[in-house]
């Protein structure tokens, strides 16, 4: 069950963070092998407090864009710059993949601890943080299970917990809540926004849910397909912090309609 105290307690061990990576994408192109152009001239500035929602038809290149940001695919042309204060060339990242991608030989807790361990944290500290996040995503009762003993939604939640343990500077989420029921999804949406304030990451996420996009984002980018382009940018100027009440605001509903209409418009073009 979602757990407020867990989220609040999370960054107490951390020094006060002034890390403010921002990202600048210029003229980005992507082609797999010599297939068709998947991403076509993507230009995007991500500010320090942005949480960007990507929405668009299946196969338009959302995952590809996220992977390029994460350094997991090589770009064909263009430039991605992290304007971070750190010496390291890339910011500390968290990535929730479209598939859960858990290590089958590790239990839930070991999977969640993994990023911290890879970054040199002590086992003890890793375990403490991992347990907090496992509780947050409601998997406390199965923390010693192996991935194949979990349901699909549980695997995705473990994957979300894993991405958050390292308190990333840049958080990339590829349909993180797609396999969850609406209740759990809404709860986790709220938890995520709380964490954002505590951990202060810059985020980009992919979703197919318009309400989720509006609820979480500072800006929604609607993408069009073949080749993948940013069709329209819709700023969501709803005040933070957003809570379950936000969903009932008329401005919220208005934004939802705006995004939906953009998607319809896009579809009728095709």
């Amino acid at each position: 069950m979602p757990n407020l105290t867990a989220a609040t307690a999370l960054s107490d061990s951390e020094e006060i963070r002034t890390a403010d990576p921002a990202v600048s994408i210029q003229g980005l192109y992507k082609q797999y092998g010599n297939g068709p152009t998947v991403l076509n001239n993507i230009n995007l500035e991500i500010a320090e407090d942005d949480f960007i929602g990507l929405i668009g038809p299946s196969g338009c290149g959302k995952s590809t864009l996220l992977k390029l940001l994460g350094g997991l695919e090589s770009k064909t042309k263009g430039d991605i710059q992290f304007l971070t204060q750190q010496t390291s060339p890339r910011p500390k990242m968290g990535f929730v993949f479209q598939d859960a991608n858990l290590m089958p030989w590790l239990t839930v807790i070991a999977n969640v601890m993994l990023p911290l361990e890879l970054n040199g944290a002590s086992k003890q500290e890793a375990e403490r943080k991992a347990i907090q996040l496992i509780e947050m995503v409601g998997l406390g009762h199965v923390k010693n299970h192996y991935p194949r003993q979990l349901s699909g939604g549980m695997r995705m939640r473990a994957s979300i917990a894993r991405a958050l343990t390292i308190e990333p500077q840049l958080l990339l989420l590829d349909e993180p809540f797609g396999a969850l029921d609406e209740m759990t999804r809404d709860d986790l949406n709220e938890e995520l926004l709380k964490l954002k304030q505590l951990q202060a990451w810059v985020g980009v996420f992919v979703t197919h849910s318009v309400t989720e996009a509006v609820f979480l984002s500072s800006r929604v980018l609607v993408m069009s397909a073949n080749p993948g382009e940013i069709y329209r940018e819709i700023p969501i100027d709803l005040p933070f912090p957003r809570t379950s009440e936000t969903r009932n605001l008329p401005e919220f509903q208005q934004k939802v309609v705006e995004v939906s209409q953009t998607l319809h418009e896009l579809r009728n073009l095709a």
């Binding site: 994460g70 350094g71 990535f95 991608n101 890879l118 970054n119 192996y146 991935p147």
Partner: protein, 261 residues
């Protein structure tokens, strides 16, 4: 209990049938003892030559142990090296193959020249025979790692060392263990061959390979078979060791055990 029965029953049935066929063949075709001794001849010869067999087996087991574990260690190290660096892979793999395919018959005299007659050379010969299955399997396993899982490690800025230790090696486990099983089965062959070319021929230093040659040239055919089964028994020990390891490492998560849960 039922599980134990279903585990023991099939090999027992097959074993009994094989022995029955064995006797049948001997009596039907009137096969002389020097062509194919009957099981009871072998048991009798085995108990007669007991002390020779046991001291030979101990000596050979020692060579097997050292050869097996050095090839385990060496094989894994080489595989890891090859998987680390594509340069090392391209540069060295052909020569490892070359070494592998160099007939032992040719290498044996050189090995003896360098390592002297006795245990060291036998161990090296065993090593040469065992290590390639381990290298080939482990390298294949290390290179087959699920791209998606590699991505996870890349995102979290994993060091190459952690990627190897925490991702590629666990992922390669099923491959590695298969290679290990092949190596375990090859171990006694390596040690026996080593015995015949580099072993000592007298006293308690004489391994099973030497015993085999002596029995064979003295036409003690039933005793020869007894020696062969003793060698098999050593092999079984190693393979069982690997099987236990296999079960311990994989049964919790790997699909080869998925049915049993």
């Amino acid at each position: 209990m039922n599980a134990t029965v279903s585990r023991i029953f099939p090999p027992a049935i097959v074993g009994v049938s094989l022995i029955a066929i064995w006797y049948l063949v001997i009596y039907l075709f009137d096969i002389p003892i020097f062509q194919l001794p009957a099981p009871h001849d072998i048991i009798e010869a085995g108990s007669q030559e007991q002390s020779t067999l046991i001291s030979g087996a101990l000596q050979t087991t020692l060579a097997c142990l050292i050869g097996f574990f050095t090839s385990l260690l060496g094989g894994v190290l080489i595989s890891v090296l090859l998987a680390y660096s594509s340069w090392a892979y391209k540069g060295f793999y052909p020569y490892i193959l070359l070494l592998k395919m160099m007939p032992v018959i040719v290498l044996a005299p050189i090995i003896i020249l360098w390592f002297g007659q006795g245990l060291a050379s036998i161990t090296v010969i065993t090593f040469l025979i065992c290590f390639f299955p381990i290298v080939a399997n482990t390298t294949m396993g290390l290179c087959s790692t699920d791209k998606n899982l590699v991505d996870v490690f890349r995102v979290y800025n994993s060091s190459a060392r952690d990627e190897m230790l925490k991702l590629r090696i666990p992922y390669a486990m099923p491959y590695f263990l298969t290679g290990l099983k092949v190596a375990a089965a090859l171990t006694p062959i390596g040690a026996l061959y080593g015995d015949t070319v580099a072993g000592m021929g007298s006293g308690s230093d004489a391994g099973l390979g030497f015993v085999v040659v002596v029995f064979s040239s003295q036409l003690k055919i039933p005793a020869l078979y007894a020696a062969a089964f003793t060698a098999c028994f050593i092999g079984f020990l190693f393979v069982s060791l690997v099987n236990i390891l296999h079960w311990r490492l994989l049964h919790k998560w790997h699909d080869s055990y998925a049915q049993s849960n």
